[in-house]
Protein backbone atom coordinates (compact mmCIF):
# COMPACT_ATOMS: atom_id res chain seq x y z
CA UNK A 1 0.00 0.00 0.00
CA UNK A 2 1.03 3.59 -0.51
CA UNK A 3 2.45 5.87 2.16
CA UNK A 4 -0.17 8.46 1.31
CA UNK A 5 -1.50 8.85 4.86
CA UNK A 6 2.00 9.27 6.33
CA UNK A 7 2.14 12.57 4.50
CA UNK A 8 -0.69 13.76 6.74
CA UNK A 9 0.86 12.95 10.10
CA UNK A 10 1.39 16.00 12.33
CA UNK A 11 5.09 16.50 11.47
CA UNK A 12 4.92 15.85 7.74
CA UNK A 13 1.78 17.87 7.18
CA UNK A 14 3.20 21.12 8.63
CA UNK A 15 5.86 21.24 5.91
CA UNK A 16 3.28 20.36 3.27
CA UNK A 17 0.89 23.05 4.46
CA UNK A 18 3.63 25.70 4.42
CA UNK A 19 4.38 24.72 0.82
CA UNK A 20 0.71 24.89 -0.15
CA UNK A 21 0.34 28.32 1.48
CA UNK A 22 3.46 29.60 -0.32
CA UNK A 23 2.11 28.36 -3.65
CA UNK A 24 -1.26 29.99 -3.00
CA UNK A 25 0.42 33.31 -2.16
CA UNK A 26 2.47 33.14 -5.34
CA UNK A 27 -0.67 32.41 -7.35
CA UNK A 28 -2.46 35.34 -5.75
CA UNK A 29 0.45 37.68 -6.49
CA UNK A 30 0.53 36.45 -10.08
CA UNK A 31 -3.22 36.98 -10.43
CA UNK A 32 -2.91 40.47 -8.96
CA UNK A 33 -0.30 41.41 -11.56
CA UNK A 34 -2.44 39.94 -14.33
CA UNK A 35 -5.44 41.87 -13.09
CA UNK A 36 -3.41 45.09 -13.09
CA UNK A 37 -2.27 44.32 -16.64
CA UNK A 38 -5.84 43.50 -17.59
CA UNK A 39 -7.09 46.79 -16.13
CA UNK A 40 -4.49 48.76 -18.10
CA UNK A 41 -5.51 46.96 -21.29
CA UNK A 42 -9.20 47.61 -20.64
CA UNK A 43 -8.52 51.29 -20.08
CA UNK A 44 -6.53 51.50 -23.33
CA UNK A 45 -9.43 49.79 -25.19
CA UNK A 46 -11.94 52.26 -23.75
CA UNK A 47 -9.83 55.20 -24.86
CA UNK A 48 -9.56 53.71 -28.38
CA UNK A 49 -13.31 53.08 -28.59
CA UNK A 50 -14.07 56.61 -27.45
CA UNK A 51 -11.71 58.00 -30.08
CA UNK A 52 -13.35 55.85 -32.78
CA UNK A 53 -16.82 57.02 -31.77
CA UNK A 54 -15.69 60.61 -31.85
CA UNK A 55 -14.21 60.06 -35.33
CA UNK A 56 -17.52 58.54 -36.57
CA UNK A 57 -19.54 61.39 -35.12
CA UNK A 58 -17.16 63.83 -36.76
CA UNK A 59 -17.51 61.97 -40.14
CA UNK A 60 -21.32 61.99 -39.84
CA UNK A 61 -21.29 65.72 -39.14
CA UNK A 62 -18.90 66.29 -42.00
CA UNK A 63 -20.98 64.32 -44.60
CA UNK A 64 -24.70 64.55 -43.89
CA UNK A 65 -25.44 62.78 -47.23
CA UNK A 66 -28.00 59.94 -46.60
CA UNK A 67 -26.58 57.55 -49.25
CA UNK A 68 -23.15 57.69 -47.66
CA UNK A 69 -24.83 56.90 -44.34
CA UNK A 70 -26.49 53.81 -45.87
CA UNK A 71 -23.19 52.54 -47.26
CA UNK A 72 -21.51 52.88 -43.87
CA UNK A 73 -24.41 50.92 -42.25
CA UNK A 74 -23.99 48.12 -44.79
CA UNK A 75 -20.26 47.97 -44.11
CA UNK A 76 -20.92 47.74 -40.37
CA UNK A 77 -23.36 44.85 -40.89
CA UNK A 78 -20.84 43.00 -43.05
CA UNK A 79 -18.17 43.46 -40.39
CA UNK A 80 -20.51 42.12 -37.72
CA UNK A 81 -21.29 39.01 -39.80
CA UNK A 82 -17.59 38.42 -40.35
CA UNK A 83 -16.95 38.62 -36.60
CA UNK A 84 -19.77 36.15 -35.94
CA UNK A 85 -18.30 33.68 -38.43
CA UNK A 86 -14.90 33.99 -36.77
CA UNK A 87 -16.48 33.25 -33.38
CA UNK A 88 -18.24 30.17 -34.77
CA UNK A 89 -14.99 28.87 -36.24
CA UNK A 90 -13.21 29.39 -32.91
CA UNK A 91 -15.98 27.54 -31.04
CA UNK A 92 -15.86 24.58 -33.42
CA UNK A 93 -12.08 24.30 -33.00
CA UNK A 94 -12.50 24.33 -29.21
CA UNK A 95 -15.23 21.69 -29.24
CA UNK A 96 -13.23 19.36 -31.43
CA UNK A 97 -10.84 18.85 -28.54
CA UNK A 98 -13.60 17.88 -26.13
CA UNK A 99 -13.89 14.12 -25.55
CA UNK A 100 -17.64 14.44 -25.03
CA UNK A 101 -18.08 16.09 -28.44
CA UNK A 102 -15.86 13.45 -30.03
CA UNK A 103 -17.92 10.79 -28.30
CA UNK A 104 -21.27 12.14 -29.48
CA UNK A 105 -19.84 12.44 -32.99
CA UNK A 106 -18.69 8.83 -32.80
CA UNK A 107 -22.18 7.76 -31.72
CA UNK A 108 -23.68 9.71 -34.62
CA UNK A 109 -21.23 8.16 -37.06
CA UNK A 110 -22.18 4.72 -35.68
CA UNK A 111 -18.62 3.79 -34.90
CA UNK A 112 -19.99 1.22 -32.54
CA UNK A 113 -21.42 -0.88 -35.37
CA UNK A 114 -19.66 -3.97 -34.00
CA UNK A 115 -21.92 -3.83 -30.96
CA UNK A 116 -24.73 -6.38 -31.19
CA UNK A 117 -28.35 -5.42 -30.62
CA UNK A 118 -30.99 -3.24 -32.18
CA UNK A 119 -31.10 0.54 -32.51
CA UNK A 120 -31.94 0.98 -28.86
CA UNK A 121 -29.36 1.52 -26.14
CA UNK A 122 -30.21 -1.78 -24.51
CA UNK A 123 -28.92 -5.12 -25.70
CA UNK A 124 -31.38 -7.96 -25.15
CA UNK A 125 -30.48 -11.60 -25.51
CA UNK A 126 -32.60 -14.66 -24.82
CA UNK A 127 -31.49 -16.31 -21.62
CA UNK A 128 -30.16 -19.81 -22.52
CA UNK A 129 -30.81 -21.01 -18.98
CA UNK A 130 -34.39 -19.74 -18.74
CA UNK A 131 -35.99 -23.21 -19.26
CA UNK A 132 -33.71 -24.79 -16.70
CA UNK A 133 -34.40 -21.97 -14.28
CA UNK A 134 -38.17 -22.30 -14.72
CA UNK A 135 -38.00 -26.08 -14.23
CA UNK A 136 -35.79 -25.61 -11.18
CA UNK A 137 -38.23 -23.04 -9.81
CA UNK A 138 -41.14 -25.47 -10.35
CA UNK A 139 -39.22 -28.37 -8.82
CA UNK A 140 -38.55 -26.29 -5.76
CA UNK A 141 -41.90 -24.51 -5.57
CA UNK A 142 -44.35 -27.45 -5.87
CA UNK A 143 -42.94 -29.69 -3.10
CA UNK A 144 -42.27 -26.76 -0.81
CA UNK A 145 -45.81 -25.39 -1.18
CA UNK A 146 -47.28 -28.87 -0.58
CA UNK A 147 -45.10 -29.41 2.45
CA UNK A 148 -46.06 -25.99 3.75
CA UNK A 149 -49.79 -26.67 3.40
CA UNK A 150 -49.42 -30.07 5.09
CA UNK A 151 -47.45 -28.60 7.95
CA UNK A 152 -49.99 -25.83 8.42
CA UNK A 153 -52.83 -28.42 8.43
CA UNK A 154 -51.04 -30.54 11.00
CA UNK A 155 -50.36 -27.54 13.16
CA UNK A 156 -54.01 -26.46 13.06
CA UNK A 157 -55.19 -30.05 13.72
CA UNK A 158 -53.02 -30.29 16.84
CA UNK A 159 -54.04 -26.80 17.95
CA UNK A 160 -57.79 -27.43 17.77
CA UNK A 161 -58.03 -31.14 18.81
CA UNK A 162 -57.68 -32.93 22.16
CA UNK A 163 -56.46 -36.44 22.86
CA UNK A 164 -59.08 -38.48 24.76
CA UNK A 165 -57.57 -40.42 27.71
CA UNK A 166 -58.55 -43.99 28.56
CA UNK A 167 -61.31 -43.50 31.18
CA UNK A 168 -62.21 -47.18 31.76
CA UNK A 169 -61.95 -47.85 35.50
CA UNK A 170 -61.71 -44.11 36.31
CA UNK A 171 -64.16 -42.21 38.49
CA UNK A 172 -67.11 -40.37 36.92
CA UNK A 173 -66.03 -37.08 38.60
CA UNK A 174 -62.63 -37.24 36.93
CA UNK A 175 -64.24 -37.59 33.50
CA UNK A 176 -66.52 -34.57 34.08
CA UNK A 177 -63.58 -32.48 35.29
CA UNK A 178 -61.55 -33.35 32.17
CA UNK A 179 -64.58 -32.44 30.03
CA UNK A 180 -64.88 -29.00 31.67
CA UNK A 181 -61.17 -28.26 31.30
CA UNK A 182 -61.03 -29.24 27.59
CA UNK A 183 -64.39 -27.81 26.58
CA UNK A 184 -65.82 -31.26 25.79
CA UNK A 185 -69.37 -32.35 26.56
CA UNK A 186 -69.43 -35.65 28.45
CA UNK A 187 -72.62 -37.66 27.96
CA UNK A 188 -73.20 -40.32 30.57
CA UNK A 189 -75.22 -43.54 30.32
CA UNK A 190 -75.73 -45.45 33.54
CA UNK A 191 -76.05 -49.22 33.71
CA UNK A 192 -76.14 -51.81 36.55
CA UNK A 193 -72.97 -53.73 36.71
CA UNK A 194 -72.39 -56.22 39.43
CA UNK A 195 -68.67 -56.56 39.04
CA UNK A 196 -67.83 -52.78 38.76
CA UNK A 197 -67.96 -50.37 41.65
CA UNK A 198 -70.68 -47.74 41.53
CA UNK A 199 -69.57 -44.47 39.77
CA UNK A 200 -66.76 -45.98 37.71
CA UNK A 201 -66.51 -45.96 33.93
CA UNK A 202 -67.22 -49.24 32.20
CA UNK A 203 -66.75 -48.16 28.57
CA UNK A 204 -66.27 -45.02 26.47
CA UNK A 205 -66.63 -43.71 22.92
CA UNK A 206 -64.35 -42.64 21.32
CA UNK A 207 -61.81 -44.95 22.88
CA UNK A 208 -58.67 -43.74 24.67
CA UNK A 209 -55.87 -42.27 22.52
CA UNK A 210 -58.09 -40.85 19.77
CA UNK A 211 -58.21 -37.10 19.03
CA UNK A 212 -61.46 -35.11 18.92
CA UNK A 213 -62.24 -31.46 18.20
CA UNK A 214 -63.18 -29.29 21.16
CA UNK A 215 -66.93 -28.89 21.75
CA UNK A 216 -67.39 -32.49 20.52
CA UNK A 217 -68.83 -35.02 22.93
CA UNK A 218 -67.53 -38.11 24.69
CA UNK A 219 -69.93 -40.78 25.63
CA UNK A 220 -69.16 -42.83 28.78
CA UNK A 221 -71.03 -45.70 30.43
CA UNK A 222 -71.01 -45.49 34.22
CA UNK A 223 -71.68 -48.37 36.55
CA UNK A 224 -74.64 -48.04 38.95
CA UNK A 225 -73.47 -51.05 40.98
CA UNK A 226 -75.46 -54.26 41.31
CA UNK A 227 -79.04 -54.37 40.03
CA UNK A 228 -81.47 -54.67 43.01
CA UNK A 229 -84.00 -56.44 40.77
CA UNK A 230 -81.55 -59.12 39.61
CA UNK A 231 -82.14 -62.58 40.97
CA UNK A 232 -79.00 -64.40 41.91
CA UNK A 233 -78.70 -68.15 41.99
CA UNK A 234 -77.58 -69.17 45.47
CA UNK A 235 -75.17 -72.07 45.93
CA UNK A 236 -76.11 -75.21 47.88
CA UNK A 237 -74.76 -74.27 51.30
CA UNK A 238 -75.40 -77.79 52.68
CA UNK A 239 -72.52 -79.12 50.60
CA UNK A 240 -70.12 -76.37 51.74
CA UNK A 241 -68.05 -76.21 54.89
CA UNK A 242 -68.75 -73.23 57.18
CA UNK A 243 -65.53 -71.62 56.05
CA UNK A 244 -66.36 -71.94 52.32
CA UNK A 245 -69.86 -70.60 52.95
Amino acid sequence: MSDFLNGFSEQNYKKKKDKILDEKQKKREGQGQEEEKGDAQARARKVEEEEENRGREWEMEKSPDQEHGKESEQEEEEEKEKEKEKKRKKASVKDKGSPLEAYTEAVEREEFSHVPGDARDEVFEPDPDSRKKKLRRKLIAIPSVTAGVLLLGLLLYYMYTVEVPDFVGEREDDVQEWGLLNDIYVREDEVYELEKEEGTVISQSPSGGERIFSEDEVQVTISKGPDPQEELELPDFSELTPREA
Binding site: M1, E10, K17, P99, Y103, V123
Partner: protein, 226 residues
Protein backbone atom coordinates in the same frame (compact mmCIF):
# COMPACT_ATOMS: atom_id res chain seq x y z
CA UNK B 1 5.01 1.76 -17.88
CA UNK B 2 3.43 1.68 -14.48
CA UNK B 3 1.98 -1.59 -13.19
CA UNK B 4 -1.76 -1.89 -13.67
CA UNK B 5 -3.67 -1.49 -10.42
CA UNK B 6 -6.91 -2.82 -11.84
CA UNK B 7 -7.24 -5.17 -14.81
CA UNK B 8 -10.63 -5.87 -16.31
CA UNK B 9 -10.85 -8.98 -18.48
CA UNK B 10 -13.90 -9.85 -20.59
CA UNK B 11 -16.29 -8.35 -18.10
CA UNK B 12 -19.98 -8.78 -18.92
CA UNK B 13 -22.98 -7.93 -16.80
CA UNK B 14 -26.69 -8.35 -17.40
CA UNK B 15 -29.98 -7.83 -15.63
CA UNK B 16 -32.57 -10.59 -15.89
CA UNK B 17 -35.70 -9.44 -17.69
CA UNK B 18 -38.13 -12.36 -17.88
CA UNK B 19 -36.74 -14.87 -20.40
CA UNK B 20 -34.19 -12.32 -21.62
CA UNK B 21 -30.89 -10.99 -20.38
CA UNK B 22 -30.52 -7.23 -20.69
CA UNK B 23 -26.78 -6.79 -21.13
CA UNK B 24 -25.37 -3.51 -19.81
CA UNK B 25 -21.71 -4.53 -20.20
CA UNK B 26 -20.39 -6.75 -22.99
CA UNK B 27 -16.87 -8.20 -23.00
CA UNK B 28 -15.23 -5.11 -21.48
CA UNK B 29 -11.43 -5.16 -21.39
CA UNK B 30 -9.38 -2.34 -19.89
CA UNK B 31 -6.76 -1.58 -17.26
CA UNK B 32 -6.23 1.26 -14.82
CA UNK B 33 -2.85 2.44 -13.58
CA UNK B 34 -1.60 4.44 -10.64
CA UNK B 35 -0.87 8.13 -11.21
CA UNK B 36 -3.49 8.59 -13.89
CA UNK B 37 -6.84 10.31 -13.95
CA UNK B 38 -9.52 8.39 -15.89
CA UNK B 39 -13.02 9.42 -16.81
CA UNK B 40 -15.72 7.13 -18.11
CA UNK B 41 -18.20 8.85 -20.40
CA UNK B 42 -21.46 7.48 -21.65
CA UNK B 43 -25.13 8.16 -22.12
CA UNK B 44 -27.65 7.43 -19.40
CA UNK B 45 -28.17 3.69 -19.13
CA UNK B 46 -24.92 2.87 -20.93
CA UNK B 47 -23.63 0.90 -17.93
CA UNK B 48 -21.36 3.45 -16.28
CA UNK B 49 -22.68 3.03 -12.77
CA UNK B 50 -22.88 -0.76 -13.15
CA UNK B 51 -19.23 -0.79 -14.22
CA UNK B 52 -18.32 1.33 -11.20
CA UNK B 53 -20.30 -0.91 -8.83
CA UNK B 54 -18.44 -3.94 -10.18
CA UNK B 55 -15.03 -2.26 -9.78
CA UNK B 56 -15.96 -1.25 -6.23
CA UNK B 57 -17.19 -4.79 -5.38
CA UNK B 58 -20.66 -3.46 -4.68
CA UNK B 59 -22.21 -5.84 -7.19
CA UNK B 60 -21.34 -9.45 -8.01
CA UNK B 61 -19.32 -10.16 -11.15
CA UNK B 62 -21.36 -12.50 -13.37
CA UNK B 63 -19.01 -13.07 -16.32
CA UNK B 64 -15.32 -12.19 -16.70
CA UNK B 65 -12.73 -11.16 -14.17
CA UNK B 66 -11.43 -8.10 -12.35
CA UNK B 67 -7.89 -8.19 -10.97
CA UNK B 68 -6.84 -5.94 -8.10
CA UNK B 69 -3.05 -5.60 -8.01
CA UNK B 70 -2.80 -8.96 -9.71
CA UNK B 71 -5.30 -10.76 -7.46
CA UNK B 72 -8.48 -12.01 -9.08
CA UNK B 73 -11.79 -10.91 -7.60
CA UNK B 74 -12.60 -14.62 -7.22
CA UNK B 75 -9.82 -15.06 -4.67
CA UNK B 76 -10.76 -11.93 -2.71
CA UNK B 77 -13.62 -11.31 -0.33
CA UNK B 78 -15.85 -8.41 -1.53
CA UNK B 79 -15.53 -6.81 1.92
CA UNK B 80 -11.75 -6.97 1.62
CA UNK B 81 -11.88 -5.30 -1.82
CA UNK B 82 -14.05 -2.51 -0.45
CA UNK B 83 -11.86 -1.98 2.60
CA UNK B 84 -8.38 -2.47 1.21
CA UNK B 85 -8.34 -1.86 -2.53
CA UNK B 86 -10.89 0.79 -3.51
CA UNK B 87 -12.33 4.00 -2.09
CA UNK B 88 -15.72 5.16 -3.30
CA UNK B 89 -17.06 8.69 -3.77
CA UNK B 90 -20.79 8.96 -4.49
CA UNK B 91 -22.91 11.65 -6.10
CA UNK B 92 -25.04 11.99 -2.95
CA UNK B 93 -22.02 11.69 -0.60
CA UNK B 94 -23.43 8.75 1.50
CA UNK B 95 -21.88 10.08 4.70
CA UNK B 96 -23.06 8.98 8.14
CA UNK B 97 -25.31 11.90 8.99
CA UNK B 98 -25.17 11.64 12.79
CA UNK B 99 -21.36 11.80 12.85
CA UNK B 100 -19.03 14.76 12.39
CA UNK B 101 -16.78 15.14 9.35
CA UNK B 102 -13.82 13.98 11.43
CA UNK B 103 -15.68 10.93 12.75
CA UNK B 104 -16.77 9.97 9.24
CA UNK B 105 -13.11 9.90 8.15
CA UNK B 106 -11.97 8.06 11.28
CA UNK B 107 -14.62 5.35 10.89
CA UNK B 108 -13.07 4.48 7.52
CA UNK B 109 -9.64 4.22 9.18
CA UNK B 110 -11.06 1.78 11.73
CA UNK B 111 -12.44 -0.72 9.23
CA UNK B 112 -9.49 -1.06 6.88
CA UNK B 113 -6.78 -3.69 7.17
CA UNK B 114 -4.28 -1.39 5.42
CA UNK B 115 -1.53 0.32 7.37
CA UNK B 116 -2.83 3.55 8.89
CA UNK B 117 -0.63 5.90 11.01
CA UNK B 118 -1.15 5.66 14.79
CA UNK B 119 -2.12 9.30 15.35
CA UNK B 120 -5.33 8.75 13.42
CA UNK B 121 -7.15 11.79 14.73
CA UNK B 122 -4.40 14.19 13.64
CA UNK B 123 -4.10 12.47 10.28
CA UNK B 124 -7.87 12.79 9.79
CA UNK B 125 -7.77 16.48 10.77
CA UNK B 126 -4.88 17.13 8.37
CA UNK B 127 -6.52 15.18 5.57
CA UNK B 128 -9.68 17.28 5.92
CA UNK B 129 -7.59 20.46 6.18
CA UNK B 130 -5.81 19.50 2.96
CA UNK B 131 -9.18 19.31 1.23
CA UNK B 132 -10.20 22.70 2.58
CA UNK B 133 -11.98 21.80 5.83
CA UNK B 134 -10.22 23.38 8.84
CA UNK B 135 -10.62 21.97 12.37
CA UNK B 136 -13.62 24.17 13.11
CA UNK B 137 -15.53 22.60 10.23
CA UNK B 138 -14.13 19.10 10.78
CA UNK B 139 -15.89 19.00 14.16
CA UNK B 140 -19.30 19.84 12.69
CA UNK B 141 -21.99 17.30 11.90
CA UNK B 142 -21.82 16.58 8.17
CA UNK B 143 -25.42 17.75 7.76
CA UNK B 144 -24.23 21.23 8.82
CA UNK B 145 -21.80 21.39 5.87
CA UNK B 146 -22.47 22.58 2.33
CA UNK B 147 -22.74 20.14 -0.60
CA UNK B 148 -19.21 20.88 -1.78
CA UNK B 149 -17.82 20.45 1.72
CA UNK B 150 -19.66 17.16 2.18
CA UNK B 151 -18.18 15.93 -1.10
CA UNK B 152 -14.70 16.86 0.18
CA UNK B 153 -15.39 14.87 3.34
CA UNK B 154 -16.42 11.89 1.24
CA UNK B 155 -13.20 12.17 -0.80
CA UNK B 156 -11.19 12.32 2.44
CA UNK B 157 -13.09 9.28 3.72
CA UNK B 158 -12.35 7.37 0.52
CA UNK B 159 -8.64 8.10 1.00
CA UNK B 160 -8.61 7.40 4.73
CA UNK B 161 -8.32 3.65 4.13
CA UNK B 162 -4.96 4.26 2.39
CA UNK B 163 -6.15 2.72 -0.87
CA UNK B 164 -4.62 3.27 -4.30
CA UNK B 165 -7.84 3.46 -6.29
CA UNK B 166 -10.48 6.17 -5.96
CA UNK B 167 -13.78 5.45 -7.72
CA UNK B 168 -16.11 8.41 -8.10
CA UNK B 169 -19.63 8.05 -9.46
CA UNK B 170 -20.85 11.45 -10.72
CA UNK B 171 -18.98 13.27 -7.92
CA UNK B 172 -19.94 16.72 -9.18
CA UNK B 173 -23.59 15.97 -9.89
CA UNK B 174 -24.84 17.92 -6.89
CA UNK B 175 -22.39 20.85 -6.78
CA UNK B 176 -22.06 24.17 -8.60
CA UNK B 177 -19.59 24.89 -11.40
CA UNK B 178 -16.90 26.47 -9.16
CA UNK B 179 -16.99 23.59 -6.69
CA UNK B 180 -16.86 21.18 -9.64
CA UNK B 181 -13.60 22.82 -10.77
CA UNK B 182 -12.17 22.54 -7.25
CA UNK B 183 -13.12 18.86 -6.98
CA UNK B 184 -11.59 18.16 -10.39
CA UNK B 185 -8.39 19.89 -9.21
CA UNK B 186 -8.40 17.62 -6.14
CA UNK B 187 -8.74 14.52 -8.32
CA UNK B 188 -5.97 15.72 -10.64
CA UNK B 189 -3.67 16.37 -7.67
CA UNK B 190 -4.44 12.95 -6.22
CA UNK B 191 -3.53 11.27 -9.50
CA UNK B 192 -0.48 13.31 -10.44
CA UNK B 193 1.02 14.35 -7.08
CA UNK B 194 0.01 11.42 -4.88
CA UNK B 195 0.07 8.76 -7.64
CA UNK B 196 -3.44 7.50 -6.99
CA UNK B 197 -5.53 5.84 -9.64
CA UNK B 198 -8.61 8.07 -9.97
CA UNK B 199 -11.57 6.77 -11.98
CA UNK B 200 -14.49 9.16 -12.42
CA UNK B 201 -17.81 8.38 -14.05
CA UNK B 202 -19.37 11.55 -15.40
CA UNK B 203 -21.55 13.32 -17.92
CA UNK B 204 -19.47 16.47 -17.55
CA UNK B 205 -17.30 17.37 -20.52
CA UNK B 206 -15.35 19.74 -18.24
CA UNK B 207 -14.08 16.80 -16.19
CA UNK B 208 -13.44 14.75 -19.32
CA UNK B 209 -11.23 17.52 -20.72
CA UNK B 210 -9.04 17.41 -17.62
CA UNK B 211 -8.62 13.62 -17.64
CA UNK B 212 -5.52 11.74 -18.81
CA UNK B 213 -7.59 8.95 -20.30
CA UNK B 214 -11.21 9.04 -21.45
CA UNK B 215 -13.09 5.75 -21.73
CA UNK B 216 -16.38 5.71 -23.57
CA UNK B 217 -19.19 3.31 -22.89
CA UNK B 218 -21.80 2.72 -25.55
CA UNK B 219 -24.29 -0.15 -25.60
CA UNK B 220 -22.19 -1.90 -23.01
CA UNK B 221 -18.93 -1.79 -25.02
CA UNK B 222 -15.95 0.28 -24.01
CA UNK B 223 -13.58 2.20 -26.27
CA UNK B 224 -10.44 4.04 -25.28
CA UNK B 225 -9.61 7.63 -26.21
CA UNK B 226 -6.24 8.61 -24.74
Amino acid sequence: MATATINVNNLSHYYQDGDYRRYVLRQVNCSFEKGRFYTILGQSGSGKTTFMSLLGAMDTVQEGEIQYQGYSHKSLDPNSIRRNYTGMVFQNYNLITYLTALENVMVAMEVTENRVPEDRQNVAYNLLDYFGLPRSKANRLVTRLSGGEQQRVSIARALATNVDVILADEPTGNVDADTEDEIVEIFKALAHEHSKCVIVVTHSSEIAREADVVLKLYKGSMTLDE
